[in-house]
């Protein structure tokens, strides 16, 4: 049974080779996947054009159910994006080096899910063609966005987050791009030459690189937290029962990390399987991710309980009513499903046997995300359907148009990701090298300690794997 995160004896050249081959000549399965994604996007595009022509009515949104799946899915994708930040930034700062083989695609996920999330506020607008009015540009009429509105905050936050995480991803990739450059031919050569910004691996570059990467990581963590807090304030800032909840920011952040980690597990398994990354995306690393996910799942469940109990012991009858309705009313199947997927299912992650069984983990991770998606929907819709004004109560289910667009968003995300894994190394080569290097060094030192030898003793330090 594999216990080490990674095999230190692996040759560096091997690392380069393995990863670089993952960029080349895509197999049939890849093109099929691309095809599927494009088809899904097509559905969404058709639906959106139709909605644009006819008006929001085609989405079967109504009075008072004004937001529905669009905003729910928006939160879902925003949440998804937090995983990358967690894995690369937080774990980087705490020197958890097992992140190294897997953080790259996690960061890519961050960027792409943000690019997906950003679409939904646009799609759900009644007059999308006036979208730019939300941007703070100086107009000669002296009209500005309403900076009091959480929606305006959203657009600041998302813009910042998208920029920063994209840069973070890119900066971290430069040395690998240099490797690609040195091994690529044709258009790829040109592309990588430009992208690697003339990286030569000099000590100066490495020095500044280290600082920059660290600083960015430091920025990204509070940013990620603030972004989802702001998204949560779309609801927490309102006065609606079930929305006006103080615990929403942490609740949202927890949920975000949760769905993000689950998504990482999914992609982890997919990549490991298709790109034969067994050497790098090893079971122990998966286990660590699973444990992390489990912890977050528990935190999320806890915050759920907090919310329920604060409603229960609070004095707002309307809130209580709404909560009871979630438990028993029209939405209850989905609500219970959410609780099951979110709080019960993660216990599979607690068992080593299951954790190490990839198919199980694959299914589980998918279901966890289904649960998290339901959570977002259960935050948005019940409050809209049943709030203060009983005469306005109505439960309306989303129309095919809404579903199509939500469905398509997964295609869009998938397509971006597929393109990414074929153009950019989805495993960070230089960091895996570091990992290998440092781990072996550590071993050597411990050995040396045993034999009371100098660590730099040629015999002890048996050169580099390359030779």
């Amino acid at each position: 049974m594999q216990t080490k995160d990674i095999n230190e004896q692996i040759k560096w050249a091997q690392i380069n080779k393995d990863v670089l081959t993952s960029l080349e000549n895509p197999r049939m399965a890849y093109w099929v996947a691309v095809g599927i994604c494009v088809a899904m996007i097509a559905c969404a595009v058709v639906a959106e054009v139709y909605q644009y022509q006819m008006g929001i009515g085609v989405a079967a949104l109504d009075w008072p159910q004004m937001w529905g799946l669009y905003i729910g899915t928006f939160i879902f994708w925003i949440g998804m994006s937090h995983s990358g930040t967690l894995l690369s930034a937080i774990l980087h700062i705490v020197h958890a080096d097992w992140r190294k083989p897997i953080y790259r695609f996690a960061e890519a996920m961050t960027t792409f899910s943000l690019m997906t999330a950003g679409l939904f506020p646009l799609i759900h607008l009644g007059r999308i063609w006036n979208l730019y009015w939300v941007l703070p540009y100086a107009s000669d009429r002296g009209v500005w966005p309403n900076f009091r509105s959480p929606l305006a905050w959203d657009c600041f936050a998302i813009f910042t987050y998208l920029t920063s995480s994209a840069l973070f991803l890119y900066i971290g990739m430069i040395p690998d791009l240099a490797i690609c450059r040195d091994n690529a031919k044709g258009w790829r050569k040109k592309l990588y030459t430009v992208l690697s910004l003339g990286w030569a691996g000099t000590d100066r570059q490495w020095r500044h690189f280290r600082k920059t990467y660290l600083l960015m990581a430091c920025f990204l963590i509070p940013l990620a937290v603030s972004v989802h807090s702001i998204v949560s304030s779309d609801f927490a800032m309102s006065i609606m029962p079930g929305w006006h909840v103080t615990t929403f920011p942490p609740y949202f952040v927890a949920g975000a990390l949760y769905s993000g980690c689950a998504a990482i597990i999914t992609l982890f398994i997919i990549l490991r399987y298709f790109f034969r990354f067994e050497e790098y995306m090893t079971i122990p690393i998966l286990e660590k991710t699973c444990k992390l996910t489990f912890v977050i799942a528990m935190a999320w469940s806890y915050l759920n309980l907090i919310e329920f109990s604060s409603v229960w012991y609070g004095h707002n009858e309307v809130d209580k009513e709404l909560l009871l309705n979630k438990f028993t009313g029209a939405y209850s199947p989905y609500f219970w499903a959410m609780l099951f997927f979110g709080s019960v299912l993660p216990f599979t992650l607690a068992f080593e046997k299951l954790r190490r069984h990839l198919p199980t983990m694959f299914v589980v991770s998918l279901l966890l995300n289904v649960g998290m998606w339901l959570e977002r929907w259960m935050i948005v819709s019940p409050t809209l359907s049943l709030s203060y004004e009983p005469f306005a109560w109505s439960v309306q289910w989303p129309s095919i148009v809404q579903w199509a667009i939500v469905f398509g968003s997964f295609g869009w995300f998938g397509l971006l990701f597929l393109v990414f894994v074929k153009v950019f190394p989805s495993v960070s080569m230089y960091e895996v090298k570091e990992m290998v290097y440092h781990r072996r060094r550590a071993n050597v030192e411990s050995k040396a300690h045993e034999f009371g030898r100098r660590s730099s003793d040629p015999q002890a330090a048996t050169g580099l794997p390359g030779t």
Binding site: A152, I179, A200
Partner: protein, 175 residues
């Protein structure tokens, strides 16, 4: 008077370090350890041991960026709100601090990140053309030690490199 640019590629870090160590001890006249340019496939802090402390200005820029973000952010929002005469109605202040703090915070991070990036690109000498002595091996698994010496010292340096089991030595003469 021509300069000889010499790079030695080592497959063993220890060797490379000891070579540098000897340079530092002045085995080669006319060059100091500060002239040494090390090229390596991975980033490793141990290098400080032999190369000696080399500072980075990136954090300063970051700080500047953050401060700029805060000031610009708040002023921008405040002035925008002050000129947006619709907003004060409904018994609300012209410039609402809570929401501005939230937005300023985002601005802080945005500009912090941007400044950091710029300072990195500048101080890490990115966009520079790689010299002819650059070897793909460096991005793979070898470590390069590069020095520019006078003609008379070139041989000594090569000797040093060989003595330390350099895998390959390249030389370029600049007139």
């Amino acid at each position: 008077m021509s300069k000889h640019h010499i790079i030695g590629l080592f497959s063993d870090f220890e060797q490379a370090f000891s070579a540098i160590a000897e340079i530092r001890d002045g085995k080669i006249p006319g060059v100091s350890v500060d002239d040494v340019i090390l090229k390596s496939p991975i980033e490793h802090p141990e290098i400080e041991e032999v190369l000696g402390e080399r500072s980075s200005h990136v954090p300063k820029f970051t700080l500047m960026g953050a401060i700029f973000g805060i000031t610009f952010g708040f002023l921008f929002l405040a002035s925008a709100e002050a000129t947006f005469l619709v907003q004060p109605q409904g018994g609300k202040p012209v410039i609402p601090l809570p929401s501005n703090i939230v937005l300023t915070y985002e601005m802080l991070i945005l500009f912090g990140v941007l400044f950091t990036l710029i300072s990195f690109l500048v101080s890490a000498r990115m966009f520079f053309k790689r010299d002819n002595l650059y070897s793909e091996k460096v991005s793979l698994d070898q470590i390069g030690v590069r020095l520019a010496v006078d003609e008379k010292n070139a041989q000594a340096l090569k000797g040093l490199f060989q003595q330390h089991k350099a895998v390959e030595i390249r030389e370029e003469v600049v007139r």
